[in-house]
């Protein structure tokens, strides 16, 4: 098969052999699991359990909120002891709502029923995967069922299963492909079928010969109609856009989706977990995590989601001088703010950090516009220009230089002779731009609502005036009859536009501007309302006085 290539990229020291020697081990049961509700891109799932409730392993504890969202499940059986904010592994160090489960040690499964693929509608499969919490396990945690729905009129020509795993230190996909090759192949076929894909390709970097051999063997056994493609080892081949480029030669711009070009990409672990969900009815409650760095025993663990990171790291015998944990790889990962945070669906690797593991980054020097970053950039951007405008916070310029095409792979950081943390500048600029867009949206919505309200107030005023005129006209006609009867025609009777002439309507002066109350309570009496307000004010005053008196008493 003809391979293509992308521009740039780097070849960092892979550091993968340390953790590929030992097979995947099952992490032992611990006492407490902290499961964040918000683990995927999109809406935050709503909790479906209450504090004190007993849950079984695999029971749904948070249901998806909206289409772009995925459910979360209990990693073991036990009791829900808390639903509240806990620190999650996120660079912000902020806490979000988590379900804390006290394990009962029995690890008892909920009843699992396989999904009957032949009987089901295509939409039902997607809903099922959403409820099973299947998300992209490569690190982006995008809900998989969303990626499985192809826009109308589009055809997926190539389905790419991403087993490249280009980032140093990370070996979880490598070990998974070696040990669960059959499941990976079957999962790939399953997704090929769901997407009705013309061709299924599994792309693997050539530094994983064992994984390639295992997959080829599994393919032969299953006689699977897919292709296993060996790609050269260049960081970041594992990036979705780069792998698409290498395997198909197609270039996907940042503003478009890959399905527009007839390609879709999934990680190997994602297809394997989806296959398990459909075949065995197992939701996504554990994942494989590489633990390496300053540890005595670097290897991969199968870890229940929600296991505290400090408990997990202890299993790997960390060096005594460890001073932190990096989630992800050395290129794109980040230092987690607190090791009490749990393992989440995005945790593919934990690197235990100790002094001397990575050389300290020298101080930032001025940019000399040497262009090394532009040569290394796999997205063919000009990082030195992006840096120039990010640093000076001139965000409107960044649009021209396609900041949002940046995948934050860190190649530019790696090659920069001035040691500038370029990606951090881009992250800063991106989050500022996104925040500004959010604010603009809010402001636009507020303007619209305000204008609508003013328009409505005007309309009501007009309608009121019309009603008034009508009432007056009616009264005039009546008055004429009366006056005719009483034989006392007065030339001064009620001019049509005199507001006093219609006391039955104008006695509710405040109702014209209380549209909601007027709609619901057309006969609300203004005096009764006034009395209610007065009574309430009196109550509030008494309460305040009482409170003030009490606090005076306590101080005495």
């Amino acid at each position: 098969m003809k391979l293509f290539s992308f521009k740039g990229g780097i070849k960092p020291d892979p550091n993968k052999t340390q953790s590929t020697v030992l097979p995947i081990a099952q992490a032992p049961l611990t006492s407490r699991y902290i499961v964040p509700l918000h683990q995927s891109v999109g809406g935050t799932p709503r909790p479906t359990v209450q504090v004190g409730e007993r849950v079984l392993k695999g029971q749904r504890i948070g249901e998806a909120d909206g289409w772009i969202s995925a459910a979360v499940h209990a990693p073991t059986s036990g009791t829900v002891v808390e639903i509240g904010p806990h620190i999650i592994p996120h660079p912000s160090g902020l806490a979000t709502d988590c379900v804390v489960i006290e394990a009962d040690g029995r690890d008892a499964w909920i009843e699992r029923t396989p999904f009957d693929l032949d009987q089901a509608e295509p939409d039902a499969v997607r809903d099922y995967l959403r409820d099973m919490g299947i998300v992209g396990l490569g690190g982006a945690v995008f809900p998989s069922h969303v990626k499985l729905s192809v826009p109308r009129g589009k055809q997926v020509e190539q389905l790419i299963i991403n087993g490249a795993e280009c980032e140093p230190f990370i070996t979880c996909d490598d070990r998974l492909m070696r040990e669960q090759a059959t499941e990976v192949v079957q999962g790939s076929l399953l997704f090929g079928r769901l997407l009705n894909a013309g061709k299924v390709l599994i792309g693997i970097e050539d530094n994983k010969p064992e994984a390639i051999a295992a997959l080829k063997e599994a393919q032969q056994q299953l006689e699977a109609p897919l292709e296993i493609v060996t790609v050269p080892t260049i960081y970041p081949t594992g990036g979705a856009k780069e792998l698409i480029r290498v395997l198909t030669g197609k270039e996907v711009p940042g503003s478009r989706r890959s399905t527009d070009f007839g390609v879709q990409v999934f990680n190997v672990a994602t297809v394997q977990s989806a296959w398990r969900a459909i075949t065995y009815g197992e939701p996504l409650i554990s994942r494989i995590v590489t633990i390496s760095g300053a540890v005595g025993e670097a290897r991969n663990w199968s870890v229940p989601i929600g296991m505290p990171i400090n408990v997990l790291v202890k299993l790997a015998q960390p060096r005594t001088d460890m001073d932190g944990v990096i989630m992800g790889g050395p290129m794109m990962g980040f230092r987690i703010p607190a090791t009490a945070a749990p393992v989440i669906k995005a945790t593919n690797s934990l690197i235990v950090h100790a002094p001397g593991l990575f050389p300290p980054k020298p101080a930032e020097l001025p940019c000399i516009r040497c262009g090394s970053c532009a040569q290394a950039c796999p997205q063919e951007l000009q990082p030195f220009e992006l840096y120039w405008w990010s640093r000076s916070a001139k965000f409107e310029k960044l649009e021209n230089y396609k900041l949002f095409d940046c995948i934050e792979c860190g190649c530019c950081d790696f090659v920069c002779p001035s040691h500038i943390p370029l990606v951090n500048y881009f992250r800063f600029a991106k989050s500022e731009i996104l925040a500004e867009q959010r604010e603009q949206q809010i402001a636009d919505a507020a303007r619209e609502r305000h204008e609508f309200r003013q328009e409505r107030a005007e309309r009501e005023k007009r309608e009121k005036a019309e009603r008034l005129a009508k009432a007056n006209a009616a009264r005039k006609a009546e008055g004429k009859d009366l006056s005719a009867a009483a034989l006392s025609p007065s030339p001064k009777t009620a001019p049509a536009n005199d507001p006093d002439a219609a006391p039955d309507i104008s006695s509710h002066p405040d109702q014209a501007s209380t549209p909601i109350s007027m709609d619901n309570h057309p006969v609300l009496d203004a005096t009764a309302k006034q009395a209610a307000i007065l009574a309430a004010t009196e109550r509030a005053r008494l309460k305040r006085e009482k409170h003030a008196g009490k606090s005076r008493d306590t101080t005495h």
């Binding site: 001025p366 120039w388 405008w389 640093r391 000076s392 001139k394 310029k397």
Partner: protein, 193 residues
């Protein structure tokens, strides 16, 4: 024909109205903070200056010269140009709101631009004919726009740079303008060949 070409190149590069003749410095320094405004100002000036040079040629030749009133050139030119600018603004505002948005506040600003008065005066002193006047006016204004846009591009970058505290703002802009002027001096060598 080549004569017109020489007038054009001479006006754009060799005798650049801003960087060599040092005319029209107020808009050059004032509206060169952003590239987009520089485009607007350049377009507005090109339009007005070409028209103004033509109009002032007609005034000079058919009104002032026959009566021997050359001493009224300055005042009559400025009145003509001011009226022309106002008229243009009114028409543009009505017919093309888009262009008015772009040119915006720059049109009235041009009235008091010394380049706009200077170029017609230089033009009549050179005894150009009507077509040559238009070419000279257009060339000078293109030269003005070129200098302005280049300068705005540089200033936008300089704004983001680590300029020493005491050089920030107008000081570094002046230094930049000086260096640009030196660079344009190099075009003086063009007339040797």
């Amino acid at each position: 024909m080549t004569g017109y070409l020489f007038i054009l190149i001479g006006a754009v590069l060799v005798n650049n109205v801003v960087l060599v003749r040092i005319l029209g410095l107020c808009p050059f320094m004032g509206v060169s903070r952003k590239l987009t405004t520089a485009y607007g100002m350049g377009a507005a000036t090109t339009f007005v200056l070409t028209m103004g040079t033509g109009a002032s040629y007609i005034i000079d030749h058919y009104l002032l010269m026959p009566f021997g009133l050359e001493y009224l050139r300055t005042i009559s030119f400025i009145v003509t140009i001011a009226a022309l600018v106002q008229l243009t603004e009114l028409v543009i505002q009505k017919t093309s709101p888009m262009l008015h948005q772009v040119l915006g506040i720059y049109l009235p600003l041009i009235t008091t631009n010394c380049a706009v008065l200077g170029v017609p005066l230089i033009n009549v002193s050179q005894n150009n004919d009507f077509i040559a006047s238009l070419v000279f006016g257009a060339g000078s204004s293109i030269g003005f726009s070129l200098a302005l846009i280049l300068f705005a591009g540089i200033r936008e970058r300089v704004e983001a740079a680590d300029v020493p505290q005491h050089f920030r703002g107008v000081a570094i802009a002046m230094v930049t303008a000086g260096l640009m002027s030196l660079a344009f001096m190099g075009f003086a060598g063009l007339d040797r060949y």
